[in-house]
């Protein structure tokens, strides 16, 4: 009995192809100048242009490329936040994702709570691959992918600059401090993207229109049974100390003289 069931599962896995889950974050646009609120409580996001976090966009692009190569069959995009983050889900759908899930919450969540919610999504969706950005350009934590991998028991390939899926495995080339490292992971697996993995495309107008009709489920974060209490409180947020500009030197001779005798660094 057990043997025959195993056989059916094996056979199905050949026919049922690969689903990719791509969590994306709504974040301040890359080109916006960051201002701290006068009361030093947070960064001021009032009337600020928001976009899909750049590393998440690379994750969407990689998933779309895997689908175009015939490796993946379905791309599900998930974002956690209030209704506004549907805009970023639609962006991902316009880039080529198939359907979206918004996990609705107003709460300020840390990476740990996000990873726990994503763990539930992974349990529901059973993707073979989860591709996330390595970090968001607002909180700069670089945690969620690794936490999700740990919670789900999936292996991880972080800071990817190359992803190759083959025969139930994925080879991930990683950007490490001294160069590159390649690891082989057994699917299902978690991959986080680095900058050089790909260059995301621009969504075409027809695809933006088409994205409006793609399915987008809204679920309440409260329904997932995850403790959403943050363990971290922000005491204050301040602008960084400003560095004073120095002087202009006239030529190389003056520069060398200053470095030797004034700054004494050479």
């Amino acid at each position: 009995m057990i043997v025959s069931r195993y056989y059916i599962v094996k056979r199905l896995s050949i026919e049922v192809k690969m689903k990719i889950l791509v969590p994306v974050k709504r974040a301040i646009d890359y080109n916006v100048k960051v201002r701290v609120k006068p009361d030093n409580s947070a960064v001021d996001l009032t009337n600020t242009k928001m976009s899909i976090n750049p590393f998440c966009e690379i994750a969407v692009e990689e998933a779309v490329r895997l689908k175009e190569k015939g490796v993946a069959t379905e791309i599900v995009v998930v974002s956690i936040g209030d209704k506004a983050c549907q805009e970023q889900i639609r962006t991902a759908l316009a880039l080529g994702a198939d359907r979206g899930i918004q996990i609705d919450t107003d709460a300020q969540l840390d990476s740990l709570q996000i990873a726990k919610l994503l763990q539930k999504v992974v349990e529901e969706e059973s993707p073979e691959l989860v591709i996330l950005g390595k970090q968001s350009i607002d909180s700069d934590n670089n945690q969620t992918g690794q936490m999700l991998a740990a919670l789900t028991g999936m292996p991880q390939g972080t800071f990817a600059s190359e992803v190759n899926v083959d025969d139930g495995k994925v080879n991930v080339t990683r950007e490490i401090d001294g160069g590159l490292q390649t690891v082989q992971l057994t699917l299902p697996a978690v991959v986080t993207t680095d900058l050089r993995l790909n260059e995301p495309r621009y969504a075409s107008l027809p695809n933006i229109m088409k994205a409006k009709r793609k399915p987008l489920d809204v679920k309440s974060a409260a329904d997932f049974g995850v403790d959403l209490t943050s363990h971290v409180s922000v005491i204050k947020v301040t602008p960084p100390p400003q560095r004073e500009g120095g002087i202009k030197v006239a030529d190389v001779a003056e520069l060398v003289e200053k470095l030797k005798n004034e700054a004494k660094v050479i």
């Binding site: 670089n142 401090d177 971290v232 050479i266």
Partner: protein
């Protein structure tokens, strides 16, 4: 209260980040135990034992830890770490890789990339690519923290801590090391160098980075690059200085043909002395440079090399 610090090394040498981590740990207070995990790390453990402030060195020497695979290292740190009030690692690609796993499995938050310590539970860290600085307090019993080593001074090397071996072997089955290609260089590493000379888009191509080499050799400098130069394909990503690359704070930083995008400044603005060489006198890099030289880098660089 005791603090477990994860030693940064490359299986051959203890890296300079480690003694800076010890300084950060000392600001939190408590006995400091330094974990060296790797393969054939006996000599590294000896060097680790010399760092002042270390009460004990714990060595996990096994092939399972040779390539710092996140799954294996995290499980090891998790098992040892439960006895500590703090677990610290450098915010390098090694620490960033395994530490969030440790935090998640302990069901605690991770505080990433701290640049200062206010107390044993309150830390300072840059957010928004360094455009804002947040002070955050964690309520977790075990504090899992990654540290921007460049923000802390190195502890001295006058100690002699005892060394203890642990036999724990953690070997994940679903991930395996395949290969590594490390950049070979006679020059110091970016994160450890006292002098750095970096090229940007103004270098025009990868070949022209040779113009920096002669100067780097004379100054004993590491060579870096801006993200623009990396994105343009001039040089590999491991040379990138900036928010998305390496964060450095050398004694002298020479920016050549770099306009000074916020993302680059976030990676080098804590350098002691900054020199900017750029033909555009309006370039934002001049606003942070101690010494600015407006000129054509193709004329300035050979002249600089010959006058050193």
């Amino acid at each position: 209260m005791a603090i477990l610090v994860y030693a940064e090394h490359d299986n051959q040498h203890l890296k300079s980040e480690t003694s800076k981590l010890i300084t950060a740990a000392q600001k939190m207070g408590g006995d400091i135990h330094l974990l060296v995990a790797g393969e054939n790390v006996g000599d590294i453990a000896q060097d680790a034992a010399k760092i002042s402030g270390v009460a004990k060195v714990i060595v996990a020497d096994n092939n399972a830890y040779a390539h710092q695979l996140a799954e294996n290292i995290a499980d090891l740190v998790l098992e040892l770490g439960k006895a500590y009030s703090h677990i610290l690692a450098a915010a390098t690609t090694t620490g960033k890789n395994f530490m969030p796993r440790v935090a998640a499995l302990l069901d605690v938050a991770q505080i990433s990339d701290i640049i200062d310590v206010e107390s044993d539970d309150t830390f300072v860290r840059p957010i928004y690519a360094g455009n804002a600085i947040a002070t955050v307090k964690t309520s977790d019993a075990i504090k899992v923290v990654t540290v921007r080593a460049a923000a802390f001074d190195a502890a001295s090397a006058e100690g002699s801590a005892p060394i203890e071996n642990v036999e724990t072997v953690k070997l994940a089955e679903k991930s395996a090391f395949v290969s590594e290609s490390l950049t070979e260089s006679e020059r110091p590493e970016l994160t450890a160098a006292d002098v750095i000379i970096s090229g940007g888009r103004g270098m025009q191509n990868g070949e022209n980075f040779k113009l920096l080499e002669g100067i780097a050799d004379k100054l004993g400098a590491a060579i870096g690059a801006s993200r623009a130069a990396v994105d343009a394909g001039f040089v590999p990503n491991d040379m990138q200085v900036g928010q998305t690359g390496k964060i450095v704070a050398p004694q002298l930083y020479i920016a050549v043909g770099i306009s000074g995008a916020i993302q680059h400044l976030a990676g080098m603005k804590d350098s002691k002395i900054i020199v900017a060489i750029n033909k555009d006198e309006e370039a934002p890099i001049f606003q942070v440079a101690d010494y600015g030289l407006v000129g054509d880098l193709f004329e300035v660089l050979p002249e600089l090399e010959s006058s050193l």
